[in-house]
Structures are given as structure tokens and as C-alpha cells.
Symmetry: C2
């Protein structure tokens, strides 16, 4: 299993001993997903948080009219999952789909709780990670509620140039996906945005 990337990711915020690194890595489960395969589906309990070691994935929500709304994209060195379902063990509301052939390192909830006890430094690591996610979500909420579609598109490609190059344009620039004739209202918004 490729563990260099996740260990580098950890070392950005905490220093682990060799024993702790080994302990951490032994809790990971390697998983490969082909393009368009799912790591998780709405309605099922999401058992894992996924660290991407190769490829590109998205999480999305399907509304009652069948329209898909992207919530998050992830490439190498990013985490993706349905946090609410992972923590509460309730059915997920998000689908997690590979947009390219991908590989992830998975952590399940019992392993994670166990790791927090064995390696308390991980509390700090995930606290910092969640702080960054909090900021990203807060800024995204501000964007969604106050900016035009064009402004949001420009903000997205400025903020995530590495994502823009890899994503099918439809995921960023349209609110629909796999629907041939969306209502006008849906066209007004961008999928990510």
C-alpha cells in the first residue's frame, strides 16, 4: 500500500515516531475504484473516511427531482467522505464516485477512535484539518449565497487550478449531470457552486 503520501500529509502538522507511523498505517485499508465506480452511496452507512493516493473523486447529492449537486471534489493528498454518516452511523446523503481510476487509503470509525486513544497527537492533526475544512466551507457558503454563477466559476478555477484541469467541464460549469433537458432554474447554478 502507498503510505508515503499520507505520512507526508500527517507530517505537515504533527511528528510521529516510527512506531506510531507503523501503528497508523496498519489501521489503513487500501481500496481501488475504477472510473465511475462508487466508494459510497446515499442510503448506505458510510463506514470510511478516504485519503486519495491516486485519481480524482467527487461527492454529490441527488435532490428529489433527480438533479445531482456536487459537494466536494478530491484529488491526491485530499480527504473525502460523508462525515455525517461516518460519525452518526445514519444512512449517507452523499454519493462518492471516482471520476478517474482511483486509489484511496481508508480509515473506519472504530480504528479512528482507537488511534485517537493510542496516538493523541492525531487529535491535533485532525483538529487542524477540520479547521481548514471549516474555513473552506464557510467561504463556500458565502460564495453560494452571495455571488453570481460567473463569479463562483472564476473563484473556483482560481482557487483550484489543479482541479479545473482534471474535471470534466460539466461538473464545474453546469448544475446538471446526465440529464438531457434540465429546467431553466437548474441551468442558472453551477454544479460545484
Amino acid at each position: 500500500m502507498e503510505t508515503n503520501l499520507i505520512l507526508q500529509n500527517l507530517s505537515k502538522h504533527i511528528e510521529l515516531t516510527d512506531e506510531e507511523k507503523e501503528n497508523f498505517c496498519s489501521s489503513l485499508k487500501a481500496k481501488k475504484v475504477k472510473r465511475h465506480q462508487f466508494l459510497g452511496e446515499a442510503g448506505e452507512v458510510s463506514r470510511y473516511q478516504n485519503f486519495v493516493t491516486k485519481g480524482c473523486l467527487r461527492s454529490y447529492y441527488i435532490d428529489e427531482n433527480g438533479f445531482e449537486h456536487n459537494v466536494q471534489f478530491a484529488i491526491e493528498d485530499w480527504w473525502i467522505g460523508d462525515m455525517a454518516s461516518f460519525l452518526t452511523k445514519k444512512p449517507a446523503s452523499l454519493y462518492i464516485e471516482a471520476l478517474e481510476d482511483s486509489e484511496v487509503s481508508q480509515l473506519d470509525n472504530p480504528s479512528m477512535e482507537d488511534l485517537y486513544i493510542k496516538i493523541p497527537k492525531l487529535e491535533r492533526f485532525f483538529r487542524i484539518l477540520l479547521q481548514n475544512a471549516f474555513i473552506a466551507f464557510e467561504q463556500r457558503i458565502i460564495s453560494i449565497i452571495s455571488k453570481t454563477a460567473e463569479e463562483k466559476y472564476l473563484e473556483f478555477i482560481n482557487k483550484y487550478p489543479q482541479l479545473e484541469r482534471r474535471l470534466p467541464q460539466i461538473h464545474i460549469a453546469s448544475n446538471r449531470y446526465g440529464v438531457s433537458s434540465p429546467p431553466l432554474a437548474a441551468k442558472k447554478h453551477y454544479l460545484w457552486l
Copy 2:
């Protein structure tokens, strides 16, 4: 200073010794704000995270057309602030305004970093708090991008009945505030939602 509430808040997730409690509380700064006064303004660096011990506050964003968009509400036992500015020391994008005469316990960033070193258990506390915030933000993003204004309003009052009773209706049910004739587009969205 009222510290019972914040100590109760901490005790939901971690157990502190009397010395640690004292240490934590000595880092807090008590602050009173009258209704319609500000705890922070966009453009200024936001120095504090605020734990509400009395009253009700909101954070909001003003777009380039002068429209206000609420990002968060907070009553007793909740935290509020501009996290991005607090962590990066860049100018805040949010205003934090008291909607009632309010009292908060403030923590500045150097004190917080210092507390993480002195009381590592606080890493766990804030990791869990941020996890919950992550879930709330994720669900809010799903709501904003996929639900109608009516659905979002019902979701809001179901999720936060204690807030709905205390907030001026205009904050929940309209996208404008202090503007006498908003364009039609602004009327379509709810302030919170």
C-alpha cells in the same frame, strides 16, 4: 465572569482537572455587547473566537450590492467568530453583530495555541466541535444548493426551534435587511438559507 456554561460545554467531551479549568478560564476575556453593537467587522482582523454566555448574535456577509447574507446565528452555549480571519490574521469578511444585549467569553489566537500546548485534551474538544460544525456546514451546503426557500425555512425552524423563537423573522425569512426595496432575485432566497 460567568464560566459555568463554558466549563459544562467542555465537560461534554473532555474531563479537566481543577487546575486545568482554572488555567483555561484565566485565558478567557469577558465582553459585553449591546443590541446592534459589533463584536467584529469585515475588513478588520478578527482576534477572537466567542463563546456566548448570554444573548444572541449573528455573523453576516455584505455583498458588493450592499445586501446582507447571514452565515451563522449563535445563542447561549454556542461559539461564533470569523474563523478564517482568526487563523490567518487576514481581514475578516464577516460582521459579528449582537441581536440582543449579549455577553461572550473570548479566546484570542495566541492564548488558544498556548492552551493546546498546556492542555492537549483541548485538541480533542475542538476536534469534536469542528467535526460537528463540519457536518452542519455540509448539510447547509446541500440545503442551499438543492432545496427551495420554503423547504430551507422549514428545515431551519425544525432544526433550531430555540433560534426561531428569538430571531426577528426578517433574518430567517428574507434575503434582505435594512434595504427597503430589494430586487426580485434577492427576495427568492432566505437570509439564513
